[in-house]
């Protein structure tokens, strides 16, 4: 073991994040690709950078990899400042979007590449390559060329190639984008399991919310070069702070409500077109002036709908304007005076499909459990005001 690696390992103390970004920013010409950004990824966890294209997630990954230099800020990997190290010296593993397996090398040569560059002796290189191919279930494909493999197999080779050098961190750049749906779900599971077994700190870039939700310990939602929200998948899904987050992760009904009054520990809000009613209560939110308009997000799976006859007298009413059958659920579109966009509601199918179906035009009562309606931080746009 060289002195440098000994030092690197000794500096990993308890609680030291696997990756720390401190005020990292980057512009290309006059375009700010990344505003000053800071976040920590705890050692051994998988963190997703989630956002639409152009949100800065790829720029962030490329800065961590060392392909781009940040304009300012620091990149610390296992507590060591790596901001200005070239990619070669960062000891990282990376899986590229299109895998980038060297087409002129066999699977075994691809996997062994990192060891060969590090001048690991031949016997050890062969042993480690074989072990890695066993781990990704491809021992019999060692002598094939990448173009002879399926997408999923190429993905596994790319993973093996990135892990064989025992890197200090793994970077995944939209690694599942090229696979079809079934294979993608299987690979999500496999990658996650492997990552947990090895306990390697991992940064995953994706625009696929489902991938981020299923694979991550932590999600960083980004948009237009900024971090919007950071947290565990459940936290970010259950407590979206902004309209963007609530709509990018899953589906949300965004409703502009009026503040009817402040109560202890929360606010009483009223749906548009519901002026006479007592409204509903949202707990644990900052105080807003009575009469002002605020945005509330309710997930379609949290909206409960029952035929108007069975609904409580105080429940707000809506009319079914559309219906889609989706196997496990009914998806209903609901219209309500005062709302310019229809609401979406899911209804679980628990028995014969017809039992839970509702005809278009039917009047229904709406309800939701306290705590499932979220007050968003955004100011309502003019289009939200009914």
């Amino acid at each position: 073991m060289t002195q440098a690696t000994a030092k690197a390992q000794s500096s990993v103390t308890a609680g030291e994040p696997g990756l720390r970004l401190r005020d990292v920013c980057k512009s290309f010409g006059s375009v700010a690709a990344l505003q000053p950004t800071s976040f920590d990824v705890p050692a051994g966890t998988l963190c997703s950078l989630l956002g639409p294209s152009g949100c800065g997630k790829t720029t962030t990954l490329r800065i961590v990899a060392g392909f781009e230099l940040p304009d300012a800020g620091q990149v610390l990997i296992r507590g060591e400042d790596r901001t200005y190290d070239p990619p070669q010296r960062r000891k990282l593993g990376m899986v590229f979007q299109n895998y980038s397996l060297f087409p002129h090398m066999t699977v075994a040569q691809n996997v062994a590449f990192g060891l060969r560059m590090a001048r690991v002796n031949r016997a050890e290189t062969e042993a480690r390559t074989r072990r890695m191919l066993d781990i990704v279930h491809l021992p019999q494909h060692a002598d094939r060329y990448p173009h002879q493999l399926s997408g999923g197999q190429q993905q596994r080779v790319a993973l093996a190639r990135s892990l064989v050098t025992e890197p200090s961190m793994l970077l995944l750049d939209e690694p599942l984008g090229a696979l079809d749906k079934n294979l993608r779900e299987q690979m999500q599971f496999e990658i996650r399991q492997l990552q947990r077994e090895i306990g390697i700190t991992t940064l995953l870039v994706t625009h696929d919310q489902e991938e981020a939700l299923t694979m991550s310990d932590m999600i960083v939602v980004m948009d237009r070069g900024r971090i919007l929200q950071t947290g565990s998948p459940a936290e970010v899904y259950e407590h979206p702070r902004t309209r963007f987050v609530s709509e990018f992760l899953g589906t949300s009904n965004i409703i502009a409500c009026t503040v009817a009054g402040a109560e202890e520990g929360g606010l009483r809000l009223r749906l548009p077109g519901d002026e006479g009613s007592s409204g509903f209560f949202v707990a644990d939110v900052p105080v807003r002036p009575v009469g002002s308009t605020v945005l509330v997000a309710i997930r379609p799976e949290h909206l409960r709908i029952v035929p108007a006859g069975e609904a409580g007298p105080s429940e707000p009413r809506a009319t079914v304007s559309g219906h889609v059958f989706r196997g496990a659920t009914h998806v209903f579109q609901l219209q309500r005076p005062g709302l310019d966009r229809p609401l979406m509601a899911y209804r679980q199918i628990t028995g014969p499909v017809g039992e839970t179906a509702l005809p278009v035009g039917a009047e229904v009562g709406l309800s939701w459990l306290p705590g499932t309606a979220r007050l968003l931080e955004d100011e309502p746009l003019r289009e939200d005001a009914a």
Partner: protein, 274 residues
């Protein structure tokens, strides 16, 4: 009923049939002279005449007897090979830098390197003659080689830029993150991936050099006469099918080279703008 149906079918297909006819006539017009040359080369007649009445290989025997034609072909091949190698040595590093650069200067340099394609060869010949004489090279093999290299560089640069852009940055980045130094990346990843581009660029350069008359006229001497020069002077004195025979040999060389290019990177790289 069926009669109207078939008439309407014909009506629908008429434009396609007309286009097909036009294309066939056009190709016949282009290819006829070449077929003519090949046929004449296998003729038995003393002069270039068509139609060919009897066939023989006498004009190919004549090529073996009359040395200047084959000697100059051999000389042309060596010159073309040497200039292609030199063009690769200069052109490949330039192409690698230009393909990845985002600066405006790169466009300028790229235009400059491709310029010999758009300058009339005669002008280039005169300019090079002045320049090379001024630095003491004058009419020599070195000058001839330099002139041919200048014209070969654009072909190498174009193919290598196209192939290198086509492979993208990710392979090299993957190698870098796996710990490969710049030199290792070039040796183990870049070079194998752009090898086909270098090869076909060089083959194209060879073809261009073999066919280049104007530059060779400026710098050729008795010892350094290329095939086109010798063919031209031969034609001034004789008008026999030996010219057709050497022309056919030249065409075979070109066809083989083009097939090789098509097999490696595909001819599209040469026809599409880089």
């Amino acid at each position: 009923m069926t009669a109207t149906a078939s008439w309407r079918r014909l009506e629908r297909r008429l434009p396609t049939l007309l286009l097909l006819a036009f294309v066939l006539i056009f190709f016949a017009f282009l290819l006829a002279p070449i077929v003519f040359v090949v046929l004449v080369s296998f003729g038995d007649s003393e002069i270039i005449a068509f139609p060919v009445t009897s066939y023989s290989l006498r004009w190919y025997h004549r090529l073996l007897e009359y040395r200047p034609l084959l000697d100059s072909l051999w000389f042309s091949l060596k010159l073309a090979g040497a200039s292609a190698v030199l063009a690769a040595l200069f052109g490949v590093p330039a192409a690698l830098a230009l393909a990845r650069s985002r600066s405006g200067l790169a466009d300028l340099v790229s235009t400059f390197l491709l310029a010999p394609l758009s300058i009339p060869m005669i002008l280039l010949g005169i300019a090079l003659l002045y320049k090379l004489s001024a630095i003491g090279l004058g009419i020599s093999f070195t000058s001839l080689l330099i002139a041919h290299t200048v014209v070969s560089i654009p072909y190498v640069v174009r193919t290598v830029v196209a192939v290198y852009r086509g492979i993208g940055r990710n392979y090299e980045e993957a190698a870098a993150i796996l710990g490969a130094s710049r030199r290792q990346i070039f040796t183990y990843v870049t070079l194998p991936l752009i090898g086909s581009g270098i090869f076909s660029g060089m083959l194209f350069a060879v073809l261009i050099s073999l066919d280049n008359l104007s530059l060779s006229l400026f710098f050729g001497s008795a010892q350094t006469n290329t095939l086109p020069v010798v063919m031209l002077s031969y034609l001034q004195n004789q008008f026999d099918p030996a010219i057709a025979a050497i022309g056919t040999v030249q065409m075979v060389i070109a066809l083989v080279a083009l097939l090789l290019i098509e097999r490696t990177v595909g001819l599209k790289f040469m026809s599409s703008p880089s």
